[in-house]
């Protein structure tokens, strides 16, 4: 199979910053981004805030409109897919969001939340109930969870529900937008293993978005690094996350503290040796005003 | 017949939990009963009264209660007050239903549509601005010739006049909800808009709308009564307003006549308002200003022996903090915590959420929420006992001796003050400096913490600077008066990793420069390895292990610590199994 499942080519996206300011300057959030995801693989998308990683995910899901470029799914152009097309795509492309507390409707029971994507696709009520039970089992939640409300569950459990919801229509790609960032350390590890387990069993592909390099390394086959709306480096996970070539990726790797005091001291020294680069990029912020020096600059060794 | 899913019949969905709570609330129950009784009385009027509402009888003019079969007497036209009273109830009920109904239908629909669809919003805003600027009362009166005083038509118009209020309420609620992730998830699931609006948006906002409905009923009844009082209304249809007006005119002759309608109107109004409040309490939860918890145990105010300063800067012993549960009991969130911090050293307080680490930090600053109870323990700073100290003493210590760096940069700055104004005020509260001197010092400090253009940032508002800059500002504010102890509560969790590294560098430098002790609260072992000399691990309110950084990372003793360290993702946790059909694409992709 030479055709990748998902192909993003030269994608541009501009936000028209609305608001009270009369000078609403448009901000280009994605600048000719290209990436691919193959069947059954995990592409990790790593970047800091403002890198546009979440925007890519939203564009793929149809929650944000690209201004140029293309998104191709299984050979078909879905860049400007209409509502009906999107509804059909819902069978193939799903999402797990970051915040386990607001991604589930607090007023609906778990069972209702999980059954909804099924009944919308035309599945009968009884069949839907059966599937809900199977889904809960797959993510390691008890069967009686379907009767309860989200507020009765912990963050990690809610995230499992979100995963179950994403799995309901048996998709081929799941966009995971920082799915473990809001979880505790111990829960994080368990939920990540669930993701991997599901991928091994069902062959679903992931577009895994995260700011945490270690998380991305743990789950991805390939990694793409984003910086200010551009892809600066792509490659196999071990290579990109341990021996990166692009200076920004190197900065990223050296900035992540390692959980060992001796190693961390070495890493800190290595970071200090990196060339001092004062980054001043007057990116217009949301008020339209150019807050110069919005970024922090890097100090060399003291 | 089981289908393998457990119980054969699913339990009743918990969404009626709200209803059940409502029934159990005494205020809601009483007022609802009163209202239902009143409405029932009105409906049963044909059965309960012997006379028509306009049936006048000369011998019953201004009659006393009980004359003949006039239960409450007769009014100045000789009509049965009791019958008219029940008739007024019906009038009010109809008024409430029409007024509220119309307002809700119009306001709710427009609010949902206007709130959800940005493009339609400008239209709805215009329309409702127009309706809102209409002098309402005037309109009702002007249209009298057309409505002929029929209260039903009048209430219809009033409902239209009330709809902008409902529109604004619903629009704001929808705007708040439509960006919630569960709405996004519904869209990704392929749900059509109508269903999203109905099932997700409307369902999520129903609380405030129901509450508003109760108050709308009250307003409708009130306005109709008022209009009737002024004579704007049908002469044949009885209403509280007209009865009160006639009673007022007859005040000297028969004062009781004004009492009956006033009483009943008062009861209806009071019940509606109290019911509305009860609804609000149940559906939204009371936001009551928590009272200072007087349930403190006997904490002896230990006056520290003043003399030689002990080597330990901060000593926490057996600290126990508890919060009252809804049932009234105390639940401990911190239990018997012991900590020691020497001058100039960095102690990492590590734990997951719910471990109590932030509570311990707040206790040391004396900024625990009001409801918190410290049931036992001691916190000594330089030998001086902090628990039980007066607010004044604590205030003197804060800023001057103890500093605090919070987690979230943006929400910890006053949005309506310039950064500089807030910093200067903080410095002047902790150190005795003039306004000009405070400004100078803070500008220098801003530069020291790495802000490129101090004067510009000084004059900026929080929303004009980035998260990383805001955190530097907060650090500057915390160390401005040169405190001996700095409590940093997850200072880098909300920041990008590159910024995090810089902030950690900054904190380390400042610590050396100012010879501060730092209590660093975090959940990240990497940060601990980077910055701390000693570690204390917390779990569910207790310290499970303490030791030097090196010791703990090499050979942690407690199983929980070991479990946490094992959960840390490191260089070795890489994906090894390849996905199917990947190799060819791999070869293509490598740049």
């Amino acid at each position: 199979m030479t055709v990748p499942l998902l192909e993003v080519e030269d994608l541009r996206l501009t936000y028209r910053s609305r608001g009270r300011s009369l000078r609403a300057r448009p901000v280009e959030v994605l600048h000719e981004v290209s990436l691919t995801v193959a069947e059954g693989e995990t592409l990790g998308l790593v970047g800091e805030s403002g890198s546009g990683k979440t925007t890519i995910g939203r564009a793929v899901l149809g929650l944000a409109r690209p201004s140029a470029g293309s998104i191709t799914w299984d050979g078909q152009d879905i860049t400007h897919a209409g509502r009906r097309e999107r509804r059909a795509l819902a069978r193939d492309i799903q999402v797990v969001f970051q915040d386990p507390y607001s991604s589930l409707n607090p007023a609906l029971t778990i069972g209702d939340t999980l059954a909804e994507p099924l009944t919308v696709q035309g599945v009968g009520a009884r069949e839907a109930r059966r599937k809900v039970g199977a889904l809960l089992d797959r993510v390691g939640l008890p069967a009686d969870a379907s009767q309860r409300l989200p507020r009765e569950f912990s963050g990690g459990q809610r995230q499992r529900v979100a995963i179950a919801r994403a799995l309901a229509p048996e998709p081929r790609l799941i966009v995971c937008d920082e799915p473990v960032s809001a979880l505790d350390l111990s829960t994080q590890a368990r939920v990540l293993d669930l993701f991997i387990d599901i991928q091994r069993r069902t062959g679903v592909a992931y577009l895994f978005i995260s700011h945490d390099l270690a998380v991305v390394r743990h789950i991805s086959h390939r990694v793409a690094v984003l910086h200010r709306g551009e892809v600066v480096e792509t490659g196999p996970a071990p290579a990109v996350t341990s021996a990166p070539r692009h200076p920004y990726t190197r900065r990223l790797v050296l900035a992540s503290p390692v959980a060992d005091p001796v190693e961390q001291e070495k890493r800190r020294a290595a970071r200090g040796r990196l060339t001092v680069s004062v980054e001043t990029s007057p990116t217009p912020d949301s008020t339209g005003a150019t807050a110069v020096q919005k970024t922090d600059f890097h100090r060399g060794t003291r | 017949m089981t289908d393998g899913l457990g119980p054969t019949r699913p339990r009743a969905p918990r969404r009626t939990a709200a209803l059940r709570k409502l029934l159990r609330d005494p205020q809601a129950l009483t007022t609802a009963t009163v209202l239902l009784t009143v409405v029932a009385l009105g409906l049963l009027a044909p059965v309960l009264t012997q006379h028509g509402v306009n049936e006048a009888s000369l011998e019953h003019v201004d009659a006393d209660p009980g004359t003949g079969d006039y239960l409450l007497g007769g009014d100045r036209s000789g009509r049965d007050i009791w019958a008219r009273l029940l008739g007024s109830v019906n009038t009010s009920v109809v008024s409430a239903l029409i007024g509220t109904g119309v307002a809700l239908v119009i306001g709710l629909t427009a609010g949902l549509v206007g709130g959800y669809y940005d493009r339609l919003r400008s239209i709805t805003e215009w329309v409702f601005s127009l309706v809102m600027t209409f002098p309402g009362l005037l309109l009702l009166i002007v249209l009298m010739p057309m409505t002929k005083g029929d209260h039903r038509v009048t209430m219809l118009i009033f409902g239209v006049l009330l709809s902008p209020g409902v529109y604004r309420l619903v629009r704001n609620l929808v705007l708040g909800v439509k960006n919630e992730l569960f709405v996004d998830a519904a869209r990704v699931s392929g749900l059509p808009d109508a269903r999203i609006l109905r099932r997700h948006v409307l369902f999520a906002i129903r609380g405030p709308v129901i509450i508003a409905a109760a108050f709308l009923c009250n307003a409708s009844i009130g306005v109709q009564a008022g209009l009737a009082f002024l004579g704007v209304g049908s002469a044949t249809v009885p209403s509280f307003g007209s009865m009160i007006s006639e009673g007022f005119a007859n005040l000297y002759i028969e004062p009781l006549q004004i009492v009956w309608p006033s009483l009943l109107l008062g009861v209806i109004t009071v019940s509606l308002v109290l019911f509305g409040n009860a609804l609000r309490d149940v559906l939204e939860g009371t936001v009551s200003a928590p009272s200072k918890n007087t349930a403190r145990s006997s904490l002896a105010t230990r006056t520290a022996p003043v003399g030689a300063t002990p080597p330990e800067l901060l000593v926490i012993e057996d600290l126990t903090i508890a919060y009252p549960t809804p049932s009234g009991e105390l639940k401990e969130v911190v239990s018997g915590v012991h900590l020691r911090l020497e001058a100039g050293e960095t102690l990492g307080l590590v734990g997951e959420s719910g471990s109590g680490k932030t509570q311990t930090a707040f206790a040391s600053l004396g900024v625990l929420p009001r409801e918190a109870v410290v049931t036992r323990g001691s916190i000594r700073l330089e030998g001086r006992e902090l628990l039980g100290a007066s607010e004044r003493e604590l205030q003197r210590l804060r800023g001057r001796t103890i500093g605090y760096v919070p987690q979230e940069p943006m929400s910890n700055l006053n949005p309506s003050f310039t950064v500089g104004a807030e910093l200067a005020e903080g410095l002047r509260a902790a150190a005795d400096v003039s306004r000009a001197e405070a400004r100078e010092r803070m500008l220098t400090l801003l530069e020291r913490v790495g802000i490129p253009d101090p004067p510009r940032t000084f004059a900026s508002y929080p929303h004009q600077i980035s998260g990383g800059m805001a955190q530097r500002v907060l650090i500057a504010g915390a160390v401005a008066a040169g405190p001996k102890l700095l409590i940093a509560d997850e200072p880098t969790t909300a920041l990008d990793v590159t910024v995090q590294a810089e902030i950690l560098d900054l904190l380390r430098d400042l610590q050396k420069e100012l010879h501060m002790a730092v209590l660093l609260v975090t959940h990240n072992f990497g940060i601990v390895a980077d910055s701390c000399r000693r570690i204390a691990v917390m779990r569910q309110g207790e310290i499970v292990e303490t030791g030097t950084c090196l010791d703990i990372f090499r050979a942690a003793e407690h199983p929980y610590t070991r479990m946490l360290l094992d959960s840390v993702l490191d260089e070795h946790s890489v994906r090894r199994d390849p996905p199917p059909s990947v190799s060819r694409i791999l070869a293509k992709e490598e740049r």
Binding site: - | L130, P145, G241, V367, Q395, R396, R398, G399, P406
Partner: protein, 313 residues
Amino acid sequence: MLLYVARRLATGLVLALLVTLITFLLLAPSFDAIVGNRLGAGATAESIRAMKTQMGLDRPVLAQYSDWLARVARGDLGDSFFTGERVGHTVGQHLGVTMSIVLVTLALSVAFSVALGVTAAWRGGIADRVVQAVSLTGHLVPNLLVAIALVYLLSIRLGLLPATGFTPLTDDPATWARSIVIPVTALLIASMAGLTAQIRGAMTDELRKDYVRTLRTRGIPARSIILRHALRNASGPALTVLSFEFIAMLGGALIIEKVFAIPGFGSYAFDASLQGDVPVIMGITLFAVLLVVVVNLAVDLVNGWLNPKARIL
């Protein structure tokens, strides 16, 4: 910013235009009845028709409206159908009367509500419960009944204050003060009910916010934090509530004015509407709409000053 103000005023004028036009259109069908009222008993269809022509009320409706508009642009609001007085002058007079009551009420309401609301939020506990009860009481009792009860108690029974009548401030301040005590009290209770609850709620929310805690850790005294920082941020929504109350009071004081025989804006509007005094009704409508526009604009500007994020640059 001037551009913003100009834009709002322009929008306001358009609104005034629309509202007065719609009002006139709604009045038009009643012209016959109005003229009949003016002629009094014994009016025949003949005399009504004749009078209509004389008054110019038989012309096309839109033509009549544009004439009125043209005159208003020149500053002439016309004369009352029934009393012949200059509309502009009389409306202004009545408005002044109501304003003197409403402004006093609102000033007192703000002072009391802020004091009570802040105390309730800060102290909590019993103080909070008391304030909530006070606020609730205000909501519970309809204006109407309060007014009547007060008149009964203070005037009829105890003879302390005049039951009815109004003396303008300019004539004699002392008598003016006495004549407005009961009306102001009646209005005050209702106004405070809403405002106190609003401020209390907003302050409670504000005091829970992160920045308040951080300010405390700097060593800033509590009073300073509450009054300078928290209150300022909590005022925004309270201001909006205040503006609603102001506008509502202009018309809503109607019942109070009737009960106390005060020649105010509300009762003037009421009488004019009942009679169908078209020029007066149009004049009142125009005044009312413009007042609403101006008040809303003022509130938005103050909000912008209070909250820099909402500021119009």
